[in-house]
């Protein structure tokens, strides 16, 4: 059963990953592959839109932890947007909001990247 998907699109020159469904230890590799693809293409300004992300377990959080240093050392960032409260609570429990840009809306992330 396919309960997760990640799609890539480009908006205002930034790479955006749209996450759909449930991100757990089984589906995390799909997100990992998508992030690796972008990094291999030297895309370091990445927005992850979580509006259709219904669930996240620590394996999903681990993917964001593994690649943030790479993109930041290239002058970029991974910004997370449009999270529902349930998903945000998991990030919050582990202290992500102090180390990651978690923004209300995709446009906030685009503005943050553009105004640097």
């Amino acid at each position: 059963m396919k309960n997760f998907s990640v799609k890539h699109r480009t908006q205002s020159g930034f790479s955006i990953l749209d996450l759909h469904g449930e991100l757990d230890a089984h589906t995390a590799s799909q997100l990992e592959d998508a992030l690796k693809d972008l990094i291999n293409q030297n895309r370091s300004e990445i927005i992850v839109n979580c509006s259709n992300l219904e669930y996240i377990a620590s394996a999903g959080l681990g993917v964001f932890m593994a690649y943030i240093e790479d993109v930041r050392s290239d002058g970029g960032d991974i910004k997370l947007t449009n999270m529902n409260d349930k998903v945000y609570n998991v990030f919050d429990l582990l202290g992500f909001p102090t180390l990651y840009d978690i923004l209300d809306d995709e446009s906030d992330a685009i503005n943050n990247f553009s105004n640097r």
Binding site: E22, H26, A57, S58, G62, M65, I68, L94, L99
Partner: protein, 141 residues
């Protein structure tokens, strides 16, 4: 409700079964009066525990089995997980130092912390070559 209601699910040790485990918990905890928020918390804690068993006790050997037992009582839900894999330590459950882990590109340790944060009681025993983990959520928590 009756004093004690139990449900059992056996799964093979594959992460492809995690969504089935979450659905199993959600279905029965909902029917037995837990709130949506409590169900979300229990689901995540059990997902993390089952993931740890698959990865650490069984090293992703899909021929192995994990037994999941839900016990509802008037005061709480207890989830018992049994496996016959390798004994692995889960005693440390401090909040992971994210900043340090990111610098070292290290993952892990988060699941155990989540389990202890989301459930009211967590215990582990090793008995007859089996790992038994029990985690409980009080109805009033």
């Amino acid at each position: 409700m009756k004093n004690r209601v139990t449900y059992q699910l056996d799964i093979s040790a594959s992460t492809s079964n995690l969504s089935e485990v979450r659905n199993f918990i959600g279905r029965h905890a909902g029917k037995n009066g837990f709130s949506e928020k409590q169900i979300d918390e229990i689901r995540l804690a059990v997902d993390e525990a089952v993931t740890n068993i698959i990865k650490h006790a069984y090293k992703n050997d899909e021929s192995k089995t994990i037994d999941i037992l839900l016990i509802f009582t008037p005061k709480k839900l207890c989830v018992k997980l049994t496996d016959d894999g390798k004994n692995f330590k889960l005693d440390t459950y401090e909040r992971p130092d994210l900043e340090k882990q990111i610098k070292q590109k290290k993952r892990g340790g988060m699941g155990v912390y989540l389990i202890h944060s989301l459930m009211d009681d967590v215990s582990y025993t090793r008995d007859n070559g089996k790992n038994k983990m029990e985690m409980c959520k009080n109805r009033n928590s």
